[in-house]
Symmetry: C2
Subunit: 244 residues, 2 copies
Amino acid sequence: MALKSVNVCLSPALLPLYDADNTTAVVIDIFRASSSMCYGLANGARAIIPVAEIDECLAYKEKGYLLAAERDGAVVDGFDFGNSPFSYTPEKVAGKTVVLTTTNGTRAINLCKNAKTVVMGSFLNISSLTHWLRKQDGHVLLVCAGWKNHMSLEDTVFAGAVVDRLEASGVELDDAANAARSLYLNARDNLGAFLAKASHSKRMKHLRIEEDIAFCLQEDLVTAIPVMKKGKLVCLPEYMPAAQ
Amino acid sequence: MALKSVNVCLSPALLPLYDADNTTAVVIDIFRASSSMCYGLANGARAIIPVAEIDECLAYKEKGYLLAAERDGAVVDGFDFGNSPFSYTPEKVAGKTVVLTTTNGTRAINLCKNAKTVVMGSFLNISSLTHWLRKQDGHVLLVCAGWKNHMSLEDTVFAGAVVDRLEASGVELDDAANAARSLYLNARDNLGAFLAKASHSKRMKHLRIEEDIAFCLQEDLVTAIPVMKKGKLVCLPEYMPAAQ
């Protein structure tokens, strides 16, 4: 039992190129969905239900769930909140189930549904994530959510950080994994400045989410690893905050 | 009149994301189609006709053209040659029209048909290519042919080299252009060693094309810039070898 390959899918549009058999998919949407999911579950959210469409999200209203919807970086009118990590604090989410739809991240999760396991990755949980990934067998596919099917710098840099930690003799890397790793090695000494070039940072400037961006670049704030179980993201049991 | 943006399309599968309006597309297939096309036209080939399918290529047999076909790195049985640059020497191609089909490069060319202008780029013509691109207005899209819709390290590194030479104040770069440039800056001091990691290099090992690979990494061996005119690649007049 061992890791065989680590590949990087740079855009959800390229997912059909990859085999889902015996594959652990890690969905990455650094600014901000996957970061907020890790943070929310670490802060005691019971579950996060990722849905693709705003209407689907609204359909959960009757159940007393927290409804979160983001489009083009902003909270959708009429929703409790969007995907800012500051909306996923213990005071707001402990004991609650959150239903979330975002521009890119929740769509990427749904596209991975044939994988053996689907987990969420972010800088916030990178050490526990890579600790767990090293114990998996078969293939790891790092799925960058990107922006409307374009590759995004921040998701690719994070994928490269994971590749860098998982690389070992005998583990095959595809060209995208090698490229992502090289990008990370260039960026790591000053992630913030490197990612200031990212189109997402520019796109978000008018939304004043600089604090969100700085927050999402912190390493190892939490140990929680969100995993998809029957349509809901819950904590992988052995990495639950309470288990520490 | 000025360059507005330089974007990088990392895979032909992502081409639908880009607007072709007022766009100069540069098709890149370093190992080896775009390199051989630059070399062949510099060596006096009258034209190179890129076709997508082997059958299309065969249909030109009656006209006395040279027929070239490559699939999965090897010359297709029954053809004069494939896409090795050593098949595009003056002795072989001067005064001739070549009809060529390759696994990735010719397909990428056909997908760019809505662009304002389509040219071919390679390390062999990088200085004349960037000299000419700087004089264009509108958008430059660097289209990496990749490998069966996967991104490829060598095409992306070359795209990054072009981005690095075109970057100037006021020229917008997308995230893929920034990533490609960073990759190139990491690779440029030892391109050969960096690209030894590329899946294409590994894939081609049994075909003994190490000499082709080393050949295709030489900068500025030629000035010719292949441009699509009525379905044929010919030299841009102002960069024709005879005009030097």
